[in-house]
């Protein structure tokens, strides 16, 4: 992500890893995209992508854990990184599921990661939605 002036805006939300809190994150996502003047398709795509990513990770962790969702907004794109602690040994994001297909369709660049930010005990999904890519 470019670090042009002014620098990207960062919004970080931490929620208990529960399905009932996902709508809150989703709403933040579409609000940020709307304020960044993304077109309606892109706003809706991002909203659904965030929903999908959060749902996927909530299922891979326990309710007592925390889901961290970081939005990085700049002039051309919104980056989303959602991460949590794996709920059991070997819990990881499947990249061969319909859910993954959904994410790849809705966002421009999607990656599943394990052990990010120097924390080996972490799983997550990172994606970017670009402003001008809806053809």
């Amino acid at each position: 992500m470019s670090v042009a002036h002014p620098g990207p805006t960062v919004v970080e939300i931490r929620i208990s890893a529960r399905p009932t809190l996902i709508p809150t994150v989703r709403t933040v996502a579409s609000d940020l995209a709307g304020r960044a003047d993304f077109d309606l398709d892109a706003i809706s795509d991002l909203r659904m992508a965030v929903d999908e990513a959060c749902t996927t990770l909530v299922r891979l962790t326990t309710e007592d854990d925390t889901l961290t969702c970081v939005f990085t907004v700049d002039n051309e794109s919104i980056g989303v990184s959602v991460s949590t602690r794996p709920g059991w040994l070997g819990a990881k994001v499947s990249t061969e599921s319909f859910g993954w297909r959904v994410l790849q369709t809705l966002a421009d660049d999607v990656q599943a990661h394990e052990g990010n930010d120097g924390n080996p005990n972490s799983i997550g999904i990172a994606m970017v939605k670009r402003l001008g890519t809806v053809q």
Binding site: T27, S30, D31, G34, R35, D37, F38, D39, L40, D41, A42, I43, S44, D45, R47, M48, D51, E52, T55, R59, E96, S97, F98, G99, R101, V102, T105, V134, Q135
Partner: protein, 309 residues
């Protein structure tokens, strides 16, 4: 009240205009009550006599009620004869209310409710009609009744209390989105919608957010065009071929099969046909916001079913 054979004939008077101005197919098919001859809702003060065949039909069906309308209008509000006369008028014109209710019948609301709402509209029309103004009752009653039914759709669809201002804004935004999409060839941005409607961007954002609280698709249906694209079959063929290439096809396919046709089409085109929501809206003939809502709902459904497997 039905006339054998008349429904298949050419509707000489044209169907009533649907609220968004396009002739509704259902209305054309139900061309069997005299109300079809009523002028469209747009010209309440227009010339009722430009449509002679309809005039004649209508006159014979409802002629006996016309003097009662004048009589009713002249009664004092506390006149004891008022109630009986009103009942007679409402009952007499009930086929008109039923006919209008039927025009809205394929939009997901129970027919009984629609007739009831339309009857409320008819009662209002009877109460407010002023024969001395010169226009005939139909020109006044049809828009009054349709307005009542439309208001019902507008108010029913919201899952939480949303201020009327936002509901109205939702309607304007929806219309602007469809116009702008046509011109731009893509979905508009909030700033473009704001410029089009001449309102602040903040209002548009608020309206878009309110749209998320919109539960029912009934209002969207009213803003929907009737035609699906001719190329839908080809596009779906390509999407099907793409679906066959993925590993989870065997798990997903039966679940897709359980979906209503339209939902399945939308999911296929978005995730396997690589069309944008706006392109899908165009092909399927519904609004972008409607596609967005159906996609989100369907994903939740599919996720639950895949989970349950």
């Amino acid at each position: 009240m039905t006339r054998p054979g008349s429904s298949s004939g050419a509707p000489s008077n044209g169907p009533l205009q649907s609220p968004n101005g396009s002739a509704h197919h259902e209305a054309a098919r139900h061309d069997e009550t005299p109300t079809d001859a009523t002028p469209g809702s747009g010209d309440a003060a227009g010339s009722p006599g430009d449509d002679e065949g309809g005039e004649r039909r209508r006159d014979t069906e409802y002629a006996h009620l016309v003097p009662l309308l004048s009589e009713f209008a002249e009664l004092e509000p506390d006149d004891p004869r008022r109630e009986a006369l009103r009942d007679e008028l409402v009952e007499g014109y009930l086929p008109v209310a039923r006919h209008i209710a039927r025009r809205f019948s394929n939009r997901g609301e129970p027919m009984d409710d629609l007739v009831q709402v339309a009857t409320v509209g008819l009662i209002n029309a009877v109460d407010r009609f002023q024969p001395d103004r010169g226009s005939d009752f139909f020109s006044f009653a049809v828009p009054t009744i349709s307005g009542e039914v439309r208001r019902h759709f507008r108010d029913q669809g919201w899952s939480m209390r949303v201020p009327r201002r936002l509901k109205d804004l939702h309607v304007s935004i929806n219309a602007a989105v469809s116009e702008l999409s046509q011109g731009l060839g893509r979905a508009p941005r909030p700033s473009e919608i704001a410029a089009r409607l001449d309102v602040p961007v903040a209002d548009v954002l608020e309206g878009l957010e309110a749209a998320q609280a919109y539960r029912s698709s009934s209002l969207d249906e009213m803003l929907t065009s009737e035609e699906g694209g001719a190329t839908l079959g080809d596009l779906l063929g390509e999407a099907d071929a793409e679906l066959e290439r993925v590993e989870y096809q065997q798990a997903l396919e039966p679940l897709l099969g359980e979906l209503p046709d339209r939902e399945r089409t939308i999911v296929m085109l978005r995730f396997f046909g690589n069309l944008t929501q706006t392109q899908i809206a165009d092909r399927v003939g519904i609004s972008q916001m409607h596609v967005s809502r159906l996609l989100a709902q369907t994903l939740v459904k599919l996720r639950q079913r895949l989970e349950a497997e």
